[in-house]
Amino acid sequence: MSFGSTSKILWVDLTAGALRIEEFDEDFYRLYPGGKALAGYLVLRETPAHTDPLGPENVFVLAVGLLTGSPLATATRFTAAARSPLTGAYGESEAGGFWGPELKQAGFDAIVVKGRAPAPVYLWIHDGEAEIKNAAHLWGVLPDAAQAIIREEVSSEKARVLQIGAGGENLVRFAGLTNELRHFNARNGMGAVMGSKNLKAVAVRGTTRYLQISHTPKLLAELGRRLAKQAQENPISWDLHMRGTPALVEGLNASGMLPTHNFHTGVFEGADRINSDAYAKEILTDRRSCFACAVRCKREVAVDGRVSEYGGPEYEAVAAFGSLCGNDDLQVIAKANELCNQYTLDVISTGATIAFAMECFERGLIDLETTGGLDLRFGNTSAMLRAVEWIAHRQGFGNLLAEGSRRAAEVIGGEAPHFAMQVKGQELAMHDPRGKANVGVGYAVSEIGADHLVSIHDTLLQNPNSLQFQGAKALGITQAFPARSLNAEKMQQYLICENWVSLEKAIGYCYFGPTPRSFIQVDDVIASVQLATGWDVTLDELLRMGERATNLARVFNIREGFSRQDDTLPERLFEPIEGGPLMGAALSHAEFEAALTTLYQLKGWDPITTIPDRQRLDELQIGWAADLLGAAA
């Protein structure tokens, strides 16, 4: 029977130059349906403990979401996963675009890459077949040129190319991957893992349509048409199309939580010059889409007087290279974003690491001599752009920043670690937990280090009559809480949302698809899985899929020695925010720790070690993961 998957996983041993295909059955997929869940399974099962993240033994996985490639708006995502060179923990990053759907059409749900090629290579995968090809001539070539060369070599204009740029080649610890030049698995340094394996790119082309492998194709297509219509009629998805994520700048600044000057304050005096109105006026040229997505939220922009081949900055880039670095010049933000995208550097970690260096510079912990002449004062745009270049090429002071803010702070010494806004080594996204507390919980407990797409932001659920809260009620959320509160009851809400967001990553929906962030209602998410697979899934089973994926990642981290003390936040967030409407707001250690204890108990984890109970892992049907922990579980 068709159940929305190809049943096939491609195994690649780059050291031996060997390829094989393995088939998995439907029962397997019902536990590990794709994306984060399938990647989490493969990474945990296959990676030896204490593997060097940049060594040949690290296992690099690309896994497509269960629904990815279906005609459902926003179901475009796939996961890149491995032990992270940035955090040393389980590493994972999702992207949309076109590559994930194409891999599914080419007949594979995942690729597992082991070993290290003796010289640069790329993979060429087409309709059930795969080959390893020479990429020596592509190393050091910019992604747009590399993509064109690969398409020519494989004689397919329609080949979708996932690749690394200079950041990945030079093992920058926060380098990511790009597909179609505009979509990024940016976080956690997955591009450096590819670079360490001498794997430049994975090109795919396939012709089997998703509907051909789905259980109830006619009704699935009908649901797809209904969701596409909703995407255009729903206020939230309409706004994502019209203004996109940069619309956040104005509201977050007015709320006093726009990360500014390395999280020193939450109001930026140049906010009006980098908000979505300015964006539309100054740099926006067009809007684009991911595969089959009616939301069409991607931005096209002009950089240096021409339309960029690398897409436009999202909110995260606008804030990271804007307010966080004290820069109010949108042209410079667009340029920094383009540089990161062509070098495949994570815009969040790059901007945040530079902002960290700027604070160190302004406080005299580093000087012109240390930085090799980079005058890293807040707002110095030319120094900021040069720093991006230097990081990508590990040139001069950029070589230190390419290690990420945590490692750089250790080398700089003194007070520097206090200014590194990171968790587990990964830099905070552009959201301040002093204004929305559950975001801080997510930053702290997330297995991949600080990230903003872990649960649902508090502000969405603080008014019980809002569209968002009304949508979330179907998840079992009954009570509204103030955005800044942290208490035991709120942790239940956090956990439901965390499992839901984790599920999105397993089945391939974008964060901007399902409620409460956006327009696809809970019943339609359930229906989409039922129609694609023929499984009689309930909401409860879907939430358990999400929870299972999180537990696999947690077990990976426990095995690497992570514990509760790693689930923490930068001390600055416990200090009063300066200025603006939130002036004086700070997280409280006592409240925060009490909330975490409650959360671990709800998760069925030991509140001191965060080790999942064997019984809970058995309930999640991953008792085998407890065996990996031996007596600890």
């Binding site: 206020p235 007015a254 109105d277 008014n463 019980p464 009559n465 968002q468």
Partner: protein
């Protein structure tokens, strides 16, 4: 008065405009203006009048005011209270 509608609030406004210039003959409750414009109060998470955060239920406006409204996604009010009245 100038009314700025952040995020998806402009979806509800005439011509889906993100900024409206309205003539307000007398000091009136902001909620009344929203009702007339068909902007649902429950989607308003943050009200800023002339740079100051205000609760929607307490918000009165006059002709010279500059009013910014934000939905929960881009705003949230960072309040330490639950808002039951849309403010």
């Amino acid at each position: 008065m100038i009314l700025r509608l952040g995020g998806h609030l402009s979806f509800y406004a005439p011509q889906k405009a993100s900024e409206l210039e309205l003539e307000i003959p007398a000091r009136i409750p902001l909620a009344e203006v929203l009702q007339r414009l068909h902007v649902p109060a429950d989607e308003v998470a943050l009200v800023v009048i002339n740079g100051e955060q205000v609760e929607l239920k307490d918000a009165y406006i006059s002709d010279q005011d500059r009013v910014q409204l934000f939905p929960p996604i881009g705003g949230g009010n960072g309040s330490d209270r639950i808002s039951l009245d849309g403010a």
